[in-house]
Symmetry: C2
Subunit: 141 residues, 2 copies
Amino acid sequence: MKNSSGYNTRQKEKLLDYLISNKDKHTNVQKISAYLTAEGTPVGVATIYRQLDKLVENGLVRRYTIDGKTGACYQYIDESQDCMSHFHLKCVRCGTLIHITCDHLSEIGEHIMAHHNFRVDPSKTVFYGVCEACMEEEEND
Amino acid sequence: MKNSSGYNTRQKEKLLDYLISNKDKHTNVQKISAYLTAEGTPVGVATIYRQLDKLVENGLVRRYTIDGKTGACYQYIDESQDCMSHFHLKCVRCGTLIHITCDHLSEIGEHIMAHHNFRVDPSKTVFYGVCEACMEEEEND
DNA sequence: TTGCGTGCAAAGGTTTTGCATGGCA
DNA sequence: TGCCATGCAAAACCTTTGCACGCAA
């Protein structure tokens, strides 16, 4: 299963290549399509959506939205990383999204599971607040 | 500011009434529109979207999506509870919102501030995951 | 050869926008 | 009276789907 599900096609390979080489960023169908077109190996959006659906279903890719806004974002899930300790911080002032990996934070999930009977999914969880740069700006307001 | 921003109109009042009386559930524009129409006080969807945008901006309402799928969900943020000192758990299966107050969790904000230079706003932050009841159900799948 | 994958275009659904009108302060 | 809010319809988007053809196994 997993990666080996279905046929191997040029389109599928190119899409996965792109997602993997951008696994530290957030992307979306528009960006993927633009990139593949620019590369000279265009892939129809319908195909991109269909492949992404499979990847999400197989757990290789994460789908989410920023602020609940329209337009899904996708990100390859690097299995070599400990996904349980990977959280996101989102600045409500400038919109920057920060990825943090931190042992201390990985305890959060364990604590909530143990004391509150709830299984947190860090890949879907975003901490909202204000980033360092914006805090400094606030002081000048 | 806050609630008092802008004019008071029948539409705005009805929308807020609905959101407040359903603050324990998640809703969406379609449901809101259907309800208000059934009540005999229909409100155009454009107005609903515009008012919701303001409410989200003013921090009175939360916007998010389930699994990054299309179609935003909205939920009123209950201010009578001191949301600054506790966190929320949201079950992605049944939609239940759980409030938790916990000393251990309050450390999270301090840790992130100290080690990641980011000031978390607990009232806007939601942990996504699966609640106890839904975990049990999953075992029967 | 078989049947999944792809591309295209059309359809479907959600959200936004322009504009004239309505209504709060 | 001056503006903001509303409603409607059109537009703008994003995503899905039907269908004929292409291609991996």
